[in-house]
Symmetry: C2
Subunit: 423 residues, 2 copies
């Protein structure tokens, strides 16, 4: 099956200068993929007329082109004019849109104590749309638009991600977009998530399993120190996907932790909840990152009671009860301290399960014995404990993030192990 070709054009000077990372391109790309289109390229371009005109003229050649940004009231906001030029259609002032935007602008002018005349040019500009375009409704005073021409469709959306996502939902319901979607079939998307296996080991397992093709496309992607395999399965290729998955997983099954989209912090909370266990954290080098990830999940409070960020040794001693002689003999970065921190968190915070992290995130503080990147982790629960240590490569940020994700997987394994253990 040939999927309709989709192009995303993201406009914004701050994006093309690297001042800010674009969120709309990845959002739209995964939406298009999910719907059965082929996201062919994402083009990020500033508001210079020649560059934007060229990017839009190329974009509108695709079966579906989605454009984000450049819809504001000023002369720098050129998206609508250049989409029309690229598609070879004229512009017209839409009277209904004009009244709607005028109403909003008049109320705004009044609230700000400014004369409406200041806004008039902007209102006319924003109510001027390509011939034949449909309005998707307003984001602020900017209309989202859908334009169909010769079977190609352009969707024009505002730049702020929340507004873009809101009007994208409306765009999907329009007839022109529905006509593009009718030419394809949404694939099934499957996930496999591994922790502890290298990207090349997973790539080898995929290749040995026969690789992708025949209606199954596989992408291997290292993300936050996990390896994610995403499968795009065309209708009719489900059995091929089942076989490929089984063969891929077989040699690396012990690293597989999920076949769905739940992040590890969610899995940890779910494992605790299933068994009625509460959870606490004790962190040194990760500085609260483990607790922050756990509490990012709605409903975390049913399981997670709290955590201690014990950065100074006095806090490790006073708040977590790490014995002075453990700190003295083994040091703050040691397996003994990690174990005492976990125990302290369980006892002090009254939790069933606790995980502790202590390490040297750098760039300073390392020694020949205890280099930057050395991290000790310890988890304990009602049925036992697990501990592990690593020397993680990379910079401070990378070491901290890797230590945090490893801590979460340590608790996951601890909980899965005791769940699966014979009673």
């Amino acid at each position: 099956m040939t999927r309709p070709r989709a192009v995303i054009v993201v406009t914004g000077s701050e994006l093309v200068r690297g001042d800010r990372r674009d969120l709309n391109g990845p959002f739209l790309a995964s939406e298009l993929l999910r719907l059965g289109l082929e996201p062919a390229r994402i083009v990020i371009v500033g508001d210079r007329e020649d560059e934007l005109a060229e990017a839009l003229a190329e974009g509108v050649q695709a079966d579906l082109c989605v454009v984000s940004g450049g819809l504001g009231p000023t002369h720098d906001d050129r998206t609508v004019e250049l989409v029309a030029r690229g598609a070879g259609v004229g512009l017209r002032l839409d009277e209904d849109l004009h009244s709607e935007i005028e109403g909003i602008s008049r109320r705004f002018a009044e609230r700000m104590g400014r004369p409406y005349v200041d806004f008039e040019t902007g209102v006319s500009k924003q109510a001027t749309i390509p011939e034949g375009a449909l309005s998707l409704g307003l984001a602020g005073t900017a209309p989202g638009l859908v334009l169909e021409r010769d079977g190609s469709v352009v969707v024009v959306l505002p730049g702020p991600p929340a507004e873009l996502q809101r009007l994208w939902t409306r765009a999907l319901a329009t007839e022109p977009v529905q006509r593009v979607l009718a030419r394809t079939q949404a694939p099934e998307l499957r996930q496999l998530r591994f922790f502890g296996a290298s990207e090349s080991a997973v790539a080898k397992a995929l290749a040995d399993a026969g690789g992708d093709g025949d209606g199954v496309e596989a992408t291997i992607c290292a993300r936050d120190f996990e390896i994610h395999v995403d499968l795009v399965v065309d209708a009719g290729a489900e059995q091929r996907a089942d076989e490929l998955t089984a063969r891929l997983v077989a040699p690396i099954e012990r690293y597989l932790f999920s076949r769905d989209e739940r992040p590890v912090e969610q899995i940890v909370l779910d494992l605790c909840r299933e068994r009625g266990l509460t959870l606490a954290t004790a962190e040194s080098c990760t500085g609260g990152m483990v607790a922050e990830r756990l509490t990012s999940i709605p409903g975390a409070s049913a399981v997670f009671v709290g955590g201690i960020v014990a950065y100074a040794d006095e806090v490790k001693a006073r708040e977590l009860g790490v014995p002075a002689d453990v700190l003295e003999r083994h040091g703050a970065v040691s397996g003994e301290t990690a174990a005492a921190m976990a125990e302290g968190a369980r006892v002090r915070l009254g939790a069933d399960v606790a995980v502790a992290v202590t390490g040297i995130a750098g760039p300073d503080g390392g020694s020949a014995d205890k280099p930057v990147g050395l991290v000790y982790l310890h988890g304990e629960g009602p049925d036992g404990a697990r501990s592990v240590d690593f020397v993680f490569p990379g910079d401070r940020e990378s070491i901290r993030r890797r230590a945090a994700v490893t801590a979460l997987h340590l608790v996951r394994r601890l909980l899965a192990q005791s769940r699966d253990a014979p009673a």
Copy 2:
């Protein structure tokens, strides 16, 4: 001055499908801007031959084109071949590169216990480069490359960000890239950072100040609930930039917190360090995010002693000493609890300054009295206290991030206020 035009082509199927966010485009764009080039577009494209060929053929038209990714040993890694085709040059096997890559691959094969013959095709592929290209050295077994043709230069770099950044430094030192840089002059980059002003208030201040142009380009960008103004100042336009900045800042000066790149967590740590103060946190709804941000800064341990993530009320009472009757009468989400949490953190953790956050991040837990998004913040130090409450809009993630950044700015103001107060 017309700056040389630069195009960035980022390859990777997982990027064009939205599975992962690209880091290389923004890195390269800000590098190019800093060096005095005009980053015209960032194109993200998968490994489909037709799409990649087209993107590269367009890219090599620019004065400088930087390409990331697609340098691996398999047939899916087509960047080098398609760069050569786009530039209209042939390919040749580089004998020196071949020996170098062969050596690495033989050692790797031996370590893995696999026959070298498995690697031979890949080695030849990776040692095959465009006629006239220079090698920048290897990332793994993939060479970075520089190719000059008719005054246009293409730099080809590996996809992993750390490797890309390493070889980018080498690319900058090559003669072809130096020749492009000699055609421009690096602009001066200036920053203004505001907190508490809206993006439109800053935009109005910029417009009222005369707007950009005449050698000064200004970008206004809302980032993590702060408003950042980035100025790109051409040589000779310094005075115009000074005047613009002075006029822009005047009406909104009380929101200006920085004229450099230091994030607020760094400013807070610096303010504490200057005065020899230690710092602690007490967090409920932010779940460790404030501590995590503070400890992301190298050397934080000189100031930050630790924090308590008090998610459950029992933890607020036991670990932070929030009185039972405060929790009962005012609730866990109240100004009184925030104040008691901050005091508890100072006393229990032995810190001079503490900041506390308690709120309802949602999606559940809100009521008519205390809606989702309601957040109380309290900071206190040796010279006084500051507190504030908000109802933040948005989803859980947005409310938490906004509460965390507001907590950091609250401490910053507390410290700046007592620093600037008459003795």
